[in-house]
Symmetry: C2
Subunit: 200 residues, 2 copies
């Protein structure tokens, strides 16, 4: 397969690239690194990305993050960068990319455990992940040419736990191998319209 | 109770006002009608609304709608008005309103069945409703002064079925009395962090 991996420099993206590149041709894309530069918060940048590519079988997006902050002082301005990036960015990758992917291709977007199990300061991440999960379900009913779509919804992966674990008391660190497996189920398997939850 | 009802002129809002006004003092707000004018897609308009009010015990929002359209031609520009209105609008009502509601007050926002059971052309509505549901869950863990929050997630209500039912084949029309009861459970009951699903 030829796989477009957006967010390849991230914690999950790096490990995914390592794994997938053993069996597939990988094109990496990211804001500051990768084979092609893309800012998924900008529609034109996503269009530009896909127009440079051909023959993509699978598009994986692990880019974007959710704003974390105090609920009492949170404002729309705090939310907008995450909404434009992780939420609308991934939605736009699908809306635009659907016209470029090969028949029988697949999209895999990344939501997260906060949709179901929010922590302190995580209302933005919860909103984004809940939105992506329902979007994926709807999109799976609409995509043409046998293109599939799934969301991987990881908990806090082991690799991030030392850095971020203290913000998520009581959350079980999730083995990266299990997270990678969820992406493999989406890309190499036949899942469609699924939220592949890896909650540890 | 003193209840702020945003979206009082809508299909659900009108019936809610009829019911609630039998037992409570109602302040209605809407874009083109009501005691106070508000455009929930604008932060300043929401601030202006709450600054005109005092002593609100419950804030109900039934305003906003989700874009419906063909998934193959859908663009970010199609989604933005609904995202700013029904999604960010309701989120901003909570983020801003939390500082104005009485202790022991409540927020009730409106999501919808599409979060769980999307129909053709409804990816935007699915995204918005999924986002609101997860936001409500997160917000319920963070609101102070015993303020509660719930989402009512209605199916297609009987009163809208003649007009919209053909767009939702196989969806059961939902009795308005059941939808009203979900709002009453949120406003007059003790529910918190719940998605009150009324799917017929």
């Amino acid at each position: 397969m030829k796989i477009l991996l957006i967010g390849a420099s991230g914690t999950i993206g790096k490990k995914l690239q390592e794994n997938l590149s053993q069996r597939h041709e990988i094109v990496t894309a990211g804001r500051n690194s990768g084979d092609i530069r893309v800012d998924i918060s900008a529609v034109e940048s996503i269009k530009n990305l896909f127009e440079q590519l051909s023959g993509i079988d699978a598009c994986i997006c692990t880019a974007g993050s959710g704003y974390q902050g105090n609920f009492q002082t949170m404002t729309e301005a705090d939310l907008l960068p995450s909404l434009k990036g992780k939420l609308l960015g991934q939605v736009n990758v699908v809306l635009i990319g659907q016209h470029f992917l090969n028949e029988n291709g697949s999209f895999t977007v990344t939501s997260g455990i906060l949709a179901d199990d929010p922590a302190k300061n995580s209302a933005c991440g919860a909103l984004i992940s809940g939105a992506l999960n329902s979007f994926v379900f709807a999109a799976s009913l609409e995509l043409k040419r046998e293109i599939r779509i799934n969301a991987v919804s990881p908990g806090i992966v082991e690799d991030s736990f030392e850095q971020y674990g203290h913000e998520f008391p009581g959350f079980n660190p999730v083995p990266m191998t299990k997270v990678i497996n969820a992406y493999l189920k989406s890309v190499e398997g036949v899942s469609n319209g699924q939220i592949l939850k890896v909650y540890g």
